[in-house]
């Protein structure tokens, strides 16, 4: 086991560090020695010292210096989810989005092309798009009147004589982000042209995104129903994929579901019979690159009759079921119906597809995070099915929902607890004794295992040190 797991490169002349260097390497059931990072430098070895098999140092969640590095090396470098093509279905439609600290505009030009631009006037730097969403032919900077088309060209400069003949408008259009790519309507962008293609990055997680897309007749999703914007005082990485917490964090919700187990207007409908039980068959998956999933498939296949009957009691539900079986192989349609179109997947670093929603995680500061939740509706289904999707979403998510509010409260409690940095290690070892690796490299554990936490952290470290050299154990 490499010793750099415990050793910070800049060694404060303290007895603690000397003791640490002599200590045996930590394992999942032995708490690593205390590591005071107050004076350490976060070069590759320093970053590696924050991660040990089954453990992560709380500085990863609390140190503002780490947060700045994350923005630079994860959000300003790798693939970041921007939005869904249906949000800007019409030419000229736009949405404001964020890539780390970079404000960007997600827009469909007059030519029908989807683009992502920095939201910054090429003249003196003001944002040129000041509203969250809309539809327009132009973005105008109201500081001095420079005007850009919705395809990004600089179409007019006020008082052009002041710039002389050498001024080339073509070189002064809105700055496009270096690369934009889409997977089945999900648009990602990166500020660094050197990253591998999006399909490579998504890897095995792509087929899980298919669960949502294929659940819509003809694969047409509608992400045009507004959003719930929430904020909590905790680190962005707290929004993980965790199948160990529901019995405790969501105890009051589970109790409610037991009161009305057949209510279609709650997520209890798709979570029929508790899928989180310790003796249950639900799983966790780590697809690599930080993409992780709570996989309820085996559980839900055993309980798919309930969702089917809710659909059958909803106008248009029988047609919807028929459409699924007409469009897909029977076995895949069985999966789509059992899963109720819920991939329950996290795409590192800022996208989650959970139940009926697309969720964007925006890091604000080391201890503040915005989570924006966009319910996904289906084209080509009855209004009643879409209304059901909205009502199910609202029952659990959003700032007054029953579930995500308790999550946010617990994230804030964690952030406060991590302030006790004298004892800095966080235990993420659950299930290391029983996880298995499938042929394609996917790591699989029990629903309650911390396979996703380890998978996300592995990708975090890979991106933070800049090369894929991290190995567990």
């Amino acid at each position: 086991m490499p010793t750099e797991h415990q050793i910070s490169p800049v060694r404060p002349a303290s007895a603690d560090v000397a003791a640490m260097e002599r200590a045996a390497p930590p394992g999942p059931h032995r708490v690593p020695d205390r590591l005071d990072v107050a004076r350490s430098r976060y070069d590759a070895a320093g970053l590696r010292s924050l991660v040990a098999p089954g453990w992560v140092h709380s500085a990863v969640y609390t140190d503002p210096r780490i947060f700045e590095l994350e923005l630079e090396r994860i959000f300003h470098k790798g693939w970041v989810y921007i939005g869904h093509e249906s949000e800007i279905a019409k030419s000229g439609e736009f949405r404001r989005r964020q890539m780390g600290r970079q404000p960007v505009i997600f827009v469909r030009g007059q030519d029908g092309e989807v683009r992502v631009f920095l939201n910054r006037c090429r003249h003196r730097g003001a944002i040129v798009c000041e509203v969250d969403e809309g539809r327009d032919s132009y973005f105008r900077c109201w500081y001095h009147g420079w005007t850009y088309s919705n395809s990004g060209e600089l179409v007019s400069v006020s008082g052009p004589d002041g710039y002389g003949p050498s001024f080339d408008a073509r070189e002064n259009g809105l700055t496009p982000v270096p690369r934009v790519a889409s997977y089945r309507g999900f648009v990602f962008a990166t500020l660094d042209d050197a990253v591998p293609p999006l399909e490579h990055y998504l890897g095995g997680a792509a087929k899980v995104i298919d669960i949502l897309v294929d659940s819509a007749p003809r694969g047409e999703l509608l992400v045009r129903s507004g959003s719930n914007r929430t904020i909590y005082k905790g680190n962005w990485k707290q929004v993980g994929m965790d199948g160990y917490h529901p019995l405790f964090v969501h105890a009051s919700v589970l109790a409610t579901w037991e009161r009305h187990s057949d209510s279609g207007h709650s997520l209890g409908a798709t979570h029929s019979a508790n899928p989180f039980n310790f003796d249950g068959v639900s799983e966790t998956r780590d697809f690599g690159n930080g993409h992780t999933m709570l996989d309820f498939l085996k559980h839900r296949l055993n309980h798919s009759g309930k969702f089917r009957s809710i659909l059958e009691n909803t106008p248009g539900g029988a047609d919807y079921i028929e459409a699924l079986y007409a469009e897909h192989e029977e076995s895949w349609a069985d999966v789509l119906l059992a899963m109720a179109g819920d991939p329950h997947v996290g795409i590192f670093p800022n996208l989650q597809l959970i139940n009926n929603q697309i969720r964007i995680v925006n890091p604000i500061s080391v201890d503040e995070t915005e989570v924006v939740m966009f319910p996904v509706l289906f084209a080509n289904v009855s209004p009643e099915i879409n209304a059901l999707r909205l009502r199910q979403h609202e029952s659990f998510y959003g700032p007054a929902g029953s579930g995500s509010t308790d999550d946010a409260e617990i994230f804030e409690r964690v952030q406060k607890g991590l302030g006790a940095s004298i004892d800095p290690w966080i235990n993420i070892s659950r299930g290391m004794n029983r996880e298995r690796v499938e042929a394609d490299g996917t790591i699989v554990g029990h629903i309650s295992d911390e396979v996703p936490q380890r998978g996300q952290l592995k990708q975090w470290l890979t991106m933070m040190v800049g090369r894929p050299e991290f190995e567990e154990g």
């Binding site: 700032p399 509010t405 409260e409």
Partner: protein, 182 residues
Amino acid sequence: MGVAMTERDEVSMFVRAGDDTSILPGSSLYSEIEALLYREAELMDSHSFDAWLGLWHPDGLYWVPSNGEDIDPRESVSIIYERYPQIEDRIFRLKDKRMHSQSPKSRLIRIVSNITASASGPADILAFSTFILGEVRGAEQQSLFGRAAHRLRREADGLRILGKKVYLIANDSPMRNVTFLL
């Protein structure tokens, strides 16, 4: 006069019809409405959950839109969109010690003002009011500003809330938990 209640949908329920009759301040009906809104505010501030639920009509609709005031809840997401059985679930959870977002409970004070009301029929009232709601929880203080629309129905034992729509003017901004009664 007005639209029969059964024909009114979830959107028009909170819109004043052209032929509705204004209920003038100082009238006994206006005072009764005012007293109900003040009483409701007090019950919400004091976490008197069952008493608050008792103000509702069993066909009640509790609606807190997201991203604006005039959205269509059949096509757009809300913050809360609940019929009476789901309101009852909300109360069940608010009384459950394991509702962590209310442990500790929010301390609340709200000022209700600017009440206007109109009648669509002898038992069918629409009231608008504005509010400022201050919340303190865990050493954090937040202020919420909004407008409420109440569709009230007269029953044998008094006015009942048939519908309540709460427009928070910050409902398109990042929000902390609003798991107390609005």
